[in-house]
Structures are given as C-alpha cells and as structure tokens.
C-alpha cells in the first residue's frame, strides 16, 4: 500500500501499479488510449498526462504520462492542473486534425472510446481547416472491417495482434504522419483472435463486419449476459438483439475466465440463431398439416408419455434442460447423447477431478503457469481462448527476471525489450504442427497412443512409484527426462490435455503427471479440454451414453424416445444411430434447427437458442455459469427446452405448477438431488432478486424507437414482455447502478460509452468485478484414493499397413456445428481433406491434392490429399466434424485407397 496525493487529497492505493491504473481505480476520469489493462503501458499516445510534483512544496511540477509512472509513497500529482488539462485537450485536437468527421456513419459511434475521450477533455471546436490525410482500406476477410482514416496511431491493434495474440499478418507500415496499420496486402486476418481488434481499437478502424449486415448502435441493443456456446471454456459474452434478431456478440469481462478477450468462433458464430432453418412450429409428422398448435401437440403427446420413455440428454443443452428431461423420464431412463469414447473420457476426467490430486485451474490461473506441457491438444483450434492464455504463460519465466531488475509488470515496452524472444518452457505432443509450436521448447509429432506413453514415461520419471512404460521407443525416455526435469523445477507447472484425439489414455497419463508433480500446495494444474459447452455438466449427471452397448439392453424397445438438442447422426455412424432410433415407436426431438435427427423424428418441438432461453452451463474447469435470455422471440413456440419438458411432465402427471418454474428452481432441485451440483444454484440467481426493489434492465437508458419499432404490427403498444424467470427486465426500466456481476447486461458508465467502461465495474482496474467474478466452481467433493487413472498404458503404436489410424483434427472454423452456420465462418472453414505424411503419400503414389478414397467402417469418402510431413506413419488426419465429415465413430481406423 502506498499513499499518493492527487490534487492534494491523500489516497491509499496498491503499490506496483501505474499512476493511470491507480487514478482509474479510484474512480477518476482520466483519458487514455494506448494503455490497456491486459497489455500494459507503452506511453505512446500522450493522452494520459498529469502534473507530477517533487514534493508538497513543489508548485511548478512537470507533465508526465501517468501510465508510465509507478505508484510510490508520497507521490504528489494533479489531474485538474490547468496545464495538464490543456495538454490533454490539445492532444485530442491534434489527433482530430486527421480524424474524419465520421461519427454519423461510423460503426463505432455510440460505443467509441475516442468520442468519450474527446468529450472528456472538452475539445469541442476544430480549428484545423485543411485537407485531411486519407488512406486506402484493406479487405481483411468476412469478419473484420477496415477503415484506416479513423486511426489515431495508438498502436493497440498491433500490440494486441502481434505481441499478445501472436499474429503474424498485421503490422504497422510507413512512418511519421503516415503510419498505416494493416496487412502487407489485402487478405483474411489469420489470427484466431482478430475479432478482438474491434474492441481493442479505440476507434472505428477495426469493426465487426457481421454487425454491418444488421447494424445497430450499442444504445439500441437489448443485451443480456450470456455464455459462449461454441467450446467448453465458457467465455463470458454479451449478446445483443434488435428487431427480434441476434446482432452482436461482444466480450463480457470475467477476470477468472476470459478476461478481456474471446475468440473469433465465439464472437462471430452467432448467426445460426437467425437462420432460416430454424424450427418454427411444433410438428407432428403424421398430422396434416404437419405444423400444429400447442393444444394439438399436447393432446397428441399425452398418451405417448405414459409408456416407456427414454430421454437422451445433450452436451450443448443447459443443466436446466437436461435436468428437466431427467425429471420427465426418470433417472434410469436418462442417457447422455455423447459418443461412447467421449463418455469414457469424461468419466476419467471427473474421477481425476474428484480425487483432488490436481489443481483445476481457471483460465486466469493458467496464465500464471511457468512451464506448460500440452498433451494431445491443438488448443488454437479446440479451445482457442486457452491458447491465448498459454501464450501469456510462456512469458512468465523471462518476466520474472524483469522483476529482479525493477521493471514493473505493467511496463510493456520495457518488458518486451528485455524479454525479446525468450520464452519459458513449453512442450507440445501432438501428431501435427500446431500454432503454439512456435513457442515450444520441445515438440513431439507422435500418434495418440505414443503421446499417452510419453506422458506415462514422464510420470514415471517424476515418481518412480508410477508404473514404468514398457518397450519405450528409442529417444522417448530422453524426451521424458527433459520434460520431467523442467516440470520438476517449475514453480507453477501446467499440464493441458483433452478429448480431441479421442484417446482416454492421454487424459490418464496427463493426470498421472500432474499427480506425480506434487501434493498440497505444490499441486500441479491440470487443464482439460472437453467437447461442448455443457459436456462437463452433462457428464456430472452420471448418465450412461446412449451409444454404450449395455445402454442398448436397458432401453430395449421403448414407446417413446425424447432427444434433447442433439443431432445424434453427427456424433456416430448412421447405422448405429438408426439402430437406436428404430427401436422406439415414437421419436420426439426438441431442437432449434432442422437436422438429420429432427428429420427422423415423429414429433418435433421447436426450442429457443441460448439467446431465447435462460440456462446454466458447466465449463471445462467445473465452473457453473448462467446465461440469460436476450429477448422474447415473437414466435411463442420458441420456448426454453426446460419449459417444454416441465410442461410435458405436468401433462403426463396431470398436475399444474402453482408458480411459474424458474431456472433457479430447477437448479436448486438439481443440487438437492445430486450433491455434486451443490453451489450451482448460486450461479443462477432467483427470479425475485431485486436491487433497490427494481429489476435490472437489458436495455440502455438511451434505447430508442420503442413506440415506433413495432407500430407497424400493432399500434396499440402491447405491454412490454415481462421476465418471470430472472431478475432482468426486457426494457430499459430498472436499477441503473452497479449490478451483481453475473447480471451485467452491458457495460456503461456516464462518460464511458465504450467497452472501456468495464473498469468502473471492477474493484480495481483489471481485477475482479464488484461482488466477485461470475460463476461458481463445483468439484468441491474430494474422494481421495481412486488412482485408477494411473494405469492403462497403451501398447506401443505400430503403423499398420492396412488399417490406418484416423486422427480427428479440430479446426477453429468448421469443427463446431452451430458456429459453422455463420456465413463468414462457413467461408473460412477448410474444405474436407485427408492429411498424410510425405512417405505415406509416396507409398500410395499420391501428391498434394490428389483424391484418395477413405473408407471408415464401410463408409467411403473421397477426399483430396493434404501432405503434412510431420504426421506419424500410417496415420491420417481428417478435419473433425466438418459438415461433410460428420457421422464418424471416433476413434476410427480405416483404409486409404488411391481413387
């Protein structure tokens, strides 16, 4: 703690911060551009000037950049000083000499940091009457728009893109008054995090191109706190709607999870919500016409629910919906709709987490690791945001050195100068090159079984009690010793693994390493990537997989099979799924989009997507997080799955709910029934929570057009929709101050219209939100002793001439079904391919691009060859879950024949 004097008033602030952070944390409005809470200071924009005095006697003082000044005891400064104020407004005036008068057509307008800072400094009149500098804009792909004239040369974009996210293709060119921020030539931005440029850039140079298709100002959006649905990490997002259409996804700060950044899949993958392929009406296939109303549907369903009913839960449906289904069909009739191997891997993960042998890190904690070992994951493509965290982690060791020579952690320019290209240890074992390889001190391109064996060898090196790996390949022991030594020396080692390669042994091996590394305070971190946004939640319900052979005998031939938000045909082979579906007399599907499974259903019930429903998801670290309905869809059929399912239960039992069922009620019942969910009910607030007797608005107070926008439909202004399920209201009415963090529907503060206002919601700049970051960590129940994951070393991988091992290779764009329906993402998704190494290509006598027939369990695919020289022999990589390549039962083997 240090005492500083701002305009002669003493304040106690945290030492080690810079003066700008301290002032902002104290609530002062001090303008800035180049400083970013996650990226530190470089002192480039000169906007944050304050007057600094030698001591309390000094009256003259000198101007300094507050972002470059360390906080120390007895520091005297002035924000209100006239010279400092004049300086700050002149900096803006000078930036404005070249800035176009563009706000009216600029996508940034209304959430523009430059606008806010201009108003804050009081620069209101432009004296510059000459021609402005202009640039050509570039085509940067379907996701990001470029409008270079608006640039104020703060350098945030390149600092984020290159330094923070490791991008290669965005840079700064030219010099003096003509610097240009863009690519060397027009082209798609390659980095997985390019969408953050729209938020990092304080002006309208980089903006969300998908928003342009249905442009809406921030003040006109109805917004709700939400959770990304496109991978297992559970990044917090804000989803915005207008005219019944989802229009924008932005980052929602959560200091423990995603911080300030999300990946492009999460930001741009929302368009499926607006898809024409949405199911709009309940459908009864045997009825003419198929589309029916609710009464007819219920009349038809009533007899079907009384027989033997089997329910199939979904890893992409909320806890509420899965639980409502389980309540409807009964515990023993509830199955999980995930492939058998996934279920097996999830079981291993749960048992490892429950032993308490490892520390399950939040994404923020992974950033604090000093040595990282990645076993069998291509993070940039399977859990993108985590790759960004790992990128920060490898800097920790070199940065440590900086501390010893008194360079503060926020001094980005000095740190990067010092660190240069030095990196902490990072080891990656994966069959092909990944983007993180450039950071790695060791990369091992080996087959999944060999990855597991390497893992076990490391565990054995760290803890000789662990079983030794028989028949270890030549240099493997050497690698294991190298990695083991580094991990042993590390203060805070991190092991990352996951389900991507569909190999349970890899997860076991990773757990064995983490467990061998230490106990108690020295527990190592084990981060696990799981398939979907609620895979963890579903797995915690302990329901067997529907594709499990023993499950088949249990289900027998049911009267009715209810499939919840799940396209079963995409997760396994058609024959296997058909066999299950054929057993049932009636198939009911609840989903939001038409898909092969809904096509097979006898009854289809339309449900709301994440933006039309409330729910709770459990992410890969076991954090339960709530997402909230953004708007009330005009189509009354689009209801939450859990609401339909609760209705069906009442229908069958002939009961009625005295009160409206709320998501909180469901989660509470869930936690009562299954103690592993204790605490999850804290994540989803009760519907009657009020702040000062008020609900929390989803719309900013400037929301416009309320009496006009629906007048063409109904002039008599119906009552605005009410939300009986949550503490949020669908209008602008409600409590205007700081809300509880999980209920932040948007970030705004007087004078701070852009997302930079988030610091007003943080206890200290860059720290936790007021009231704690959202989400409740589960996995508090430790059953020590179960160490079965220690065993199961697979035999050595033997290349098989006939039976190739197929490797599912995830892609940021394309491997997740829902996001792939967005136009821009579909455009950037890879075409189907089969990857083999050069030797294998030679032996098959094919070149890059020649067509190979890939036969997996009798199903034949014709795919162009992609040569990846690093691939292990007799393994073939297929892009995972691409639309054209769904319905493969993983892990898979197959034959490759020249076509």
């Amino acid at each position: 703690m240090a005492v500083i004097y701002i305009d002669n008033v003493p304040y106690e602030v945290k030492a080690g911060k810079n003066l700008l952070e301290a002032c902002l944390s104290l609530g002062f409005d001090l303008p800035y551009f180049c400083w970013h809470p996650a990226m530190g200071s470089v002192g480039a924009c000169r906007q944050c000037a304050v007057k600094l005095f030698k001591d309390d006697q000094d009256t003259k003082g000198r101007l300094v950049m507050s972002c470059m000044e360390s906080v120390r005891d007895n520091l005297y400064c002035s924000i209100e000083d006239t010279t400092a104020k004049a300086f700050r407004s002149q900096v803006i005036e000078w930036l404005m000499t070249n800035h176009p008068h563009d706000c009216a057509v600029c996508d940034e307008g209304g959430s523009c940091h430059l606008q806010d800072m201009t108003v804050m400094t009081g620069h209101a009149y432009r004296r510059f009457n000459y021609k402005k500098r202009t640039y050509n804009n570039q085509y940067l792909g379907p996701l990001i728009n470029h409008e270079m004239n608006r640039c104020i040369q703060c350098y945030r974009c390149v600092r984020f893109y290159k330094d923070y996210a490791g991008g290669k293709d965005l840079d700064v060119f030219a010099a003096h008054n003509n610097v240009y921020f863009g690519r060397a030539t027009d082209g798609v931005l390659e980095n997985e995090f390019s969408g953050n440029l729209a938020e990092v850039c304080p002006t309208g140079v980089f903006t969300d191109k998908t928003l342009k298709e249905h442009y809406t100002r921030k003040w006109d959006l109805t917004m709700a706190p939400s959770i990304c649905q496109h991978c297992s990490l559970g990044c917090n997002i804000i989803a915005g709607e207008r005219y019944g259409e989802l229009r924008q996804i932005t980052n929602r700060y959560n200091g423990d999870v995603n911080g300030y950044f999300i990946c492009d899949r999460g930001r741009f993958g929302y368009e499926y919500v607006n898809s024409l392929n949405r199911i709009q009406h309940p459908l009864i296939r045997s009825h003419v016409p198929e589309a029916v109303n609710r009464e007819t549907l219920f009349d038809h369903l009533k007899p079907l629910l009384s027989g033997k009913v089997i329910g199939v839960g979904s890893p992409r449906a909320s806890l509420e919906s899965n639980f409502a289904l389980r309540q409807l069909v009964g515990e023993n009739q509830f199955f999980s709709g995930v492939p058998e191997t996934t279920a097996e891997m999830m079981e291993i993960i749960l048992s490892v987490f429950n032993t308490g042998d490892v520390r399950i890190p939040s994404m923020k904690e992974t950033e604090e690791a000093d040595v990282v070992l990645i076993l069998g994951e291509d993070l940039n493509n399977s859990a993108p945001r985590l790759a960004l965290s790992v990128r920060q982690a490898v800097r920790n060791n070199p940065v440590e050195v900086a501390n010893t020579i008194n360079i503060p952690a926020w001094h980005d320019a000095a740190l990067r100068e010092l660190v240069q290209s030095e990196k902490g240890d990072c080891f990656i074992a994966y069959p092909v090159i990944t983007k993180l390889d450039e950071l790695a001190s060791g990369t091992y391109y080996i087959s999944p079984d060999e990855i597991a064996r390497l893992g076990y060898a490391i565990a054995n090196f760290l803890d000789p009690q662990a079983s030794a790996v028989p028949d270890l390949q030549g240099n493997m022991q050497g690698h294991a010793v190298l990695i083991g030594n580094s991990l042993q020396k590390a203060k805070n080692p991190l092991i990352v693994t996951g389900v991507s390669l569909q190999n349970p042994s890899i997860i076991k091996a990773a757990a064995a390493i983490a467990a061998a590394l230490g106990e108690g305070d020295r527990k190592a971190m084990l981060a696990v990537v799981v398939p979907d946004c609620n895979s963890m939640g579903l797995a915690m319900m302990n329901a067997p997989s529907i594709l499990n052979s023993t499950a088949l005998s249990t289900i027998g031939s049911p009267d009715t099979l209810i499939i919840l938000e799940n396209d079963l045909f995409s997760i396994s082979q058609e024959a296997q799924i058909s066999e299950i579906l054929d057993r049932s007399t009636n198939i009911i599907v609840l989903d939001h989009l038409h898909n092969p499974t809904s096509a097979r259903a006898d009854i289809v019930i339309p449900v709301g997507t994440f933006s039309e429903a409330d729910g709770t998801l459990v992410n890969n670290e076991g954090r339960a997080q709530a997402y909230f309905q953004v708007y009330m869809p005009k189509n009354e059929n689009l209801r939450e799955s859990w609401r339909w399912l609760s209705d069906l239960k009442n229908l069958r039992d002939g009961t009625t709910d005295a009160n409206n069922v709320t998501p909180h009620d469901l989660i509470r019942q869930l936690a009562d029934k299954m103690p592993q969910f204790t605490g999850a009910d804290q994540a989803m607030p009760t519907a009657d929570l009020r702040i000062k007797d008020q609900k929390i608005p989803r719309e900013p107070h400037r929301y416009s057009g309320r009496t006009a926008m629906n007048a063409n439909l109904d002039v008599s202004e119906p009552k605005p929709p009410s939300d009986p399920d949550t503490p949020l209201s669908f209008t602008m009415e409600g409590y205007k101050g700081l809300q509880p963090a999980p209920l932040n529907s948007f970030f705004w503060s007087p004078g701070w219209n852009s997302n930079q206002s988030v610091h007003k919601y943080q206890m200290e700049v860059g720290g936790a939100l007021y009231g704690g970051n959202p989400g409740v960590r589960l996995f508090n129940h430790i059953n020590p002793g179960d160490r079965s994951y220690m065993n199961g070393i697979p035999p050595r991988f033997k290349p098989d001439k006939e039976n190739w091992e197929m490797l599912p290779l995830p892609h940021l764009f394309g491997s997740e079904a829902l996001s792939s329906l967005s136009k821009g993402i579909a455009e950037l998704s890879p075409q189907p391919y089969v990857a083999i190494n050069s030797m294998d290509a030679e032996s098959l006598n094919v070149d890059e691009g020649s067509i190979l027939q890939v036969i997996i369990e009798g199903v034949q695919y014709e795919l162009p060859v992609k040569i990846k020289p690093e691939l292990p022999a007799r393994t073939a990589g297929l892009p995972y879950n691409l639309q054209e390549l769904t319905g493969i039962k993983w892990p898979a083997h197959g034959q490759l024949v020249k076509g």
């Binding site: 209304g110 342009k212 006109d220 400037r702 416009s704 057009g705 006009a708 063409n712 002039v715």
Partner: protein
C-alpha cells in the same frame, strides 16, 4: 367559514324587476353585439381550402432531405431516434452498395425510417439532433386519418420529392 383570501365578496341576490323579467332588453342587447360582428373582420379561416401562413419556426410534418444532387442525406446514425422524447422514431440502417452513390450521400443510409405520428409531440428535437441536416419539421400539419396504422409514416411519406430539390434550411 372564514375566507382564505380576504377578498370574498358577498353577493346579494335581489329579486328581478318587471323589465328584467321581460328579458327583451337583454335579448336585444345580445342581438346587437351579434349583428355588429357580422361587419367586422373574420377571425377564422376556411381550412383546409385556406391555410394560415406558418411562422418561421413552425414545426409540422417531418421531411427527410436530399442534397443538391438529389441524394438522401440521412445516414441512419440514430441520433434523432436517440433524442426523441416520445421514442417515436425507428430506423434500420443499411450499407450503401457500389453503384448506389447517386442515391445516398454517405456510406450508410436508412433502409427503413418510420415515425409514429400518434406519438410525436412535434418538439423538434430530432431536427436539432441531426448532424447531417437530414430531417426538418417543415411540412404541413399531419392530416387526420381513420386507421391508426396510417399514422406510421415511412420513407414513402417522409423523404423529400426528388424533383423538388430546394436548399434544406428555409431562408438559408
């Protein structure tokens, strides 16, 4: 009860005398005033055949302006809708495409622009807020109508006629 203002006048109600009870003098007095007015200048006009001259700062129906080259000035920035106290304006923005430069002045335009005239209070704040001199309340009185939906004025009714292009600000 005591008077509150001390200005209470107590009126005495005297019985009317004979002349008064005849009412004739009062009737003739009234008729005289009426006849006098027949020869005075009329206060009313024959609206809608005749219209009064509007004052300089009269606020009537909105019109969405075009520039000298006939292009729509509105860029759908949303400031009018934002400033409207009756929340009567709504618009849908769109990007100008290549080849539409002669239609819209800047990169963005309002694909839909609607004012709910039943809600509008003709305060003129939209006009004041517009940074593009695109909306003026310089039109006539908004006519009466039978159906409520006919009070939703879209671009068809609001956008200035392309042929009749005048300087946007009257008197400028």
């Amino acid at each position: 009860m005591e008077s509150l203002s001390n200005r209470k006048k107590v009126l005495e109600q005297k019985p009317m005398n004979f002349w008064e009870r005849l009412y004739l003098p009062a009737i003739f007095q009234g008729m005289a005033i009426t006849f006098k007015h027949m020869f005075k200048k009329k206060e009313t006009i024959f609206y809608p055949e005749v219209e009064r001259e509007f004052s300089e700062n009269w606020r009537g129906m909105h019109s969405l302006k075009r520039d000298e080259q006939g292009r729509e000035r509105c860029t759908a920035c949303g400031l009018c809708a934002l400033s409207c106290p009756a929340e009567a304006i709504t618009m849908i923005a769109a990007e100008r495409q290549k080849g539409e430069e002669h239609l819209y002045r800047e990169e963005k335009y309002a694909a839909v622009y609607e004012i709910n005239m039943l809600r509008c209070i003709f305060c003129g704040l939209c006009e004041e807020a517009c940074p593009k001199e695109a909306i003026y309340l310089d039109g006539p009185i908004v006519p009466a109508n039978y159906l409520r939906k006919d009070f939703i004025y879209g671009k068809d009714k609001l956008v200035e006629d392309p042929i009749n292009i005048e300087s946007p600000v009257a008197g400028n």
